[in-house]
Amino acid sequence: MKRRTFLRGSAAGIAIAGAHWLRVPTLVRADDKPAAAGDSAGQLYELTSRPANYESTRDTFTTRITPVERFYIRNHFDIPVGDMKDWKLELKGLVAKPQTFTLADLEKMKQTTVEAVLQCAGNGRGWFVPRVPGVQWRWGAMGNAEWTGVRLKDLLAAAGVAKEAQHVQLQGAEKPTLEKTPAFIRGIPIAKAMHPDTLVALRMNGQPLSPHHGYPARLVVPGWVGDDWMKWLATIEVRADEPKGFFYETGYRFPATPGKPGEPVPPDQMKPMTKLVVKSQLGSIGDGDVIAPGPHELVGVAFSGEAKIKKVDITVDGGATWQPAKLDAHDSGYGFRLFRYTWDAKPGKTKVGARATDSAGAVQPATAVWNPAGYLYNAIEMVEVEVRA
């Protein structure tokens, strides 16, 4: 096995080009085998090839910014094909002047950059017990990028939003394969749509969006679940009532009050998800790793929806004791906060874990709130590690 190059991130973060992924010196790798730095293969796990659902490898979570080629991909349907030069964004509904924007129109408008975590609501679904249906994501349906584009509030201002507006309904250019399958339609409340950090993004990490990430434009809703970040954004409809369609009225809902694990929840108790919850993820070490005794730098990322990360604690003894990790200075608010902890590993088997606390006082729980669709998994992950010479 190739030894990893160690690279400490500066306060300004690690440059994407030529980035190296930090790993502890691993003797045996049990759960995955990411490619060596610079390799073009081995960057994502294929969970389903159609529609394309791919998750990031664990060692991706040792840098603050997630490169596009390591960024997870989540789709409900096949990605739209066709000549995107004809693409237009339509803004309609409860507005004084309905608008149509071409890509060139949007590029001419004032551009804003926001760093934010995009996380699929179902990230970690595969860990829920009792098991729930859906793509069985483990840790990898999340990433942090710099998103650049036009503020949605600027587009709404150009159209003139009516006083009775309460929601914006969102639809992309993707189409289900079968006519009877509902279209992917989502929506956010007008207050979040008018927030200065909510963008119609054209760029991701400085590059035009890739087709899998919604080229030419996608919504960026910082701090909120990924299902609101509509890709190939084609229609924005301002409404007084709530958005319509299966994926808003039934899908992507979370119990208002947690029920008994495995039990169905009455539909009227299911509410649309909004904010992400506090979470951390170890990137430099994984379940089943065998490492040599001596000092190891444990590295990972932490984030929370609309709150900041206040602290991350580390256990190297299965949760008996916790010690604070060092947080990197760079704190964008919505983005990954990198944490590091130097562990002087002694021979034997143990469990290593990270626990994040946010500025609102929310702490990662030992067990995530079970829910029928497996959303918002954020339990503390305990990885079993063996230390031996």
């Binding site: 990411p34 994502l44 294929e46 969970l47 159609r50 394309a52 596009v68 990605i79 079968l178 890739s210």
Partner: protein, 138 residues
């Protein structure tokens, strides 16, 4: 459920070609509890995301589920019968064409192979899908 057992026996008969055994006898590939029907697909193949060959339900999966989903969408699930029924009912609403009898047999089939007792599937990292890399054209 009885229909399902017949399917399993038919499969076992197919497999007996490479593993000689008395005619009409199921050939478990590994020890199973006496009450459980014999497993007729190699466990490694099951964990690698393969479908049992020759079952009528496999034909239904190929003809209906795979219109929209690659097969891993099914084989990575680990669900009990109630959850499989809910999922297949949803897919019928979304356009899968199945008779009530076919749907019931598909529920039993899926819950037999891809239930919570089956360990997690193995993942292999590979190249990103076409189009995943940043585009450079204007």
């Amino acid at each position: 459920m009885s229909r399902f057992v017949i399917i399993v026996l038919a499969l076992a008969a197919c497999r007996s070609e490479d593993k000689p055994a008395p005619a009409q006898q199921p050939v478990p590939t590994q020890p199973t509890p006496p009450a459980a029907p014999p497993v007729t697909i190699d466990r490694d193949a099951l964990l690698a995301g393969k479908l049992p060959e020759g079952a009528p339900e496999t034909d239904l999966v190929n003809a209906q589920c795979r219109i929209c989903h690659s097969v891993e969408y099914l084989t990575q699930q680990r669900l009990g019968e109630a959850a499989w029924k809910k999922t297949i009912d949803k897919m019928r609403k979304f356009g899968a064409v199945l008779t009530d009898e076919q749907a019931a047999s598909l529920v039993a089939f899926a819950a037999h192979y891809w239930n919570p007792d089956l360990p997690g599937r193995t993942w292999t990292p590979g190249p990103p899908p076409p189009g995943a890399l940043p585009i450079t054209t204007k």
